[in-house]
């Protein structure tokens, strides 16, 4: 079912269309909320609030962007509002950020082989410790595989800022990994 038909059906009050919309976009919303809001207990409630807003405002959707980016933008704005209410500082220059590596498994500290899973865990934890904007852009780019334009539509950030966040975030992750696994340095050269 394409987006236009889906919206038409939702507006007509078709329950199956409502279910279809939730199933189609719940992973996008969940990934965004999960990365932006670290409080696990609030993630599900916030995801529900996002969808309630989507159903409330779907009549206002003009089709100027993809439905996924429109829903993503609602999720992004609601997470930002949530974080502001919680008093989180949303503007942290990555230059001021030091990757949190304490307590993470490191190559020499582990008895067992430093395997792929450990590396994934490390990368994951470094991403989790990044400032929220970087985390969001990285998630949308790598996990949802969205283009810069789509990320721009969701976050409202200019193209240059997105690229900058992405590069600085990547750099921070790289530094975090090298700090824990110095052997990885030659493999982690940034190429474009």
């Amino acid at each position: 079912m394409d987006d236009a038909t889906l919206i038409e059906q939702v507006l007509a009050g078709n329950t199956h269309a409502n279910r279809f919309l939730i199933e189609k976009y719940k992973n996008l919303v969940w990934h965004m909320v999960l990365r932006m809001v670290s409080q696990q207990e609030d993630v599900e409630d916030l995801c529900q609030e996002v969808f309630l807003r989507v159903f409330k405002d779907i009549g206002k959707f003009r089709g100027e962007s993809k439905l996924s980016t429109w829903i993503g933008a609602i999720a992004y704005n609601m997470c930002i509002t949530y974080l502001r209410k919680k008093g989180k500082n949303l503007v942290v220059p990555v230059e001021d950020y030091t990757p949190v590596t304490a307590g993470m498994p490191s190559e020499d500290s582990a008895d067992k082989a430093f395997d792929k899973n450990n590396m994934k865990k490390i990368v994951h934890q470094i991403i989790e410790s990044l400032p929220v904007q970087y985390r969001t852009v990285i998630t949308l780019f790598y996990l949802e595989e969205l283009s810069y334009k789509e990320i721009e539509e969701i976050t409202g950030m200019p193209d240059g800022t997105i690229k900058s966040y992405l590069n600085r975030g990547r750099q921070a992750i790289r530094e975090g990994i090298i700090k824990l696994v110095p052997d990885m340095q030659p493999e982690l050269q940034v190429t474009k």
Partner: protein
């Protein structure tokens, strides 16, 4: 959309793999059902309240027009109808509130209880 032809290197691969790992916890299995129930309830409330507000506005508007027609032509304070209303304003207000409540019960509360019963039976 293209990915700006960006070449994926080892770091990109690591980030992508780490993010694609299944998280420790997921949305509950009842997420969609719970959400659908909330959505349907909200839509239902909105429709019922809108209908009630519209019907009330029509009734109140009609009554207001009738009153204006009856009272305005004779601005005489000795208008018997106006005097009757003003003398018994507490009773008139009480009757109006009672009618409004009965209307609300019929149009909203009864419908809500029926909706709940039918939802529980089907759900």
């Amino acid at each position: 959309m293209g990915r700006e032809n960006e070449q994926m290197n080892e770091l990109d691969r690591l980030i992508r793999e780490a993010l694609k790992e299944k998280p420790e916890w997921e949305l509950s299995l009842t997420f969609t059902d719970t959400l659908l129930e909330k959505v349907e309830k909200r839509l239902w409330w909105r429709e019922v309240i809108q209908a009630f507000a519209m019907k009330t506005a029509i009734v109140v508007g009609t009554l207001a027009i009738l009153l204006v027609i009856l009272i305005l032509p004779s601005r005489d304070t000795s208008n018997p109808f106006l005097t009757l209303l003003l003398d018994n304003w507490q009773l008139v207000t009480g009757i109006c509130l009672l009618v409004l409540f009965t209307f609300f019960s019929d149009q909203v509360l009864l419908k809500y209880f029926n909706f709940r019963v039918s939802y529980q039976n089907t759900g």
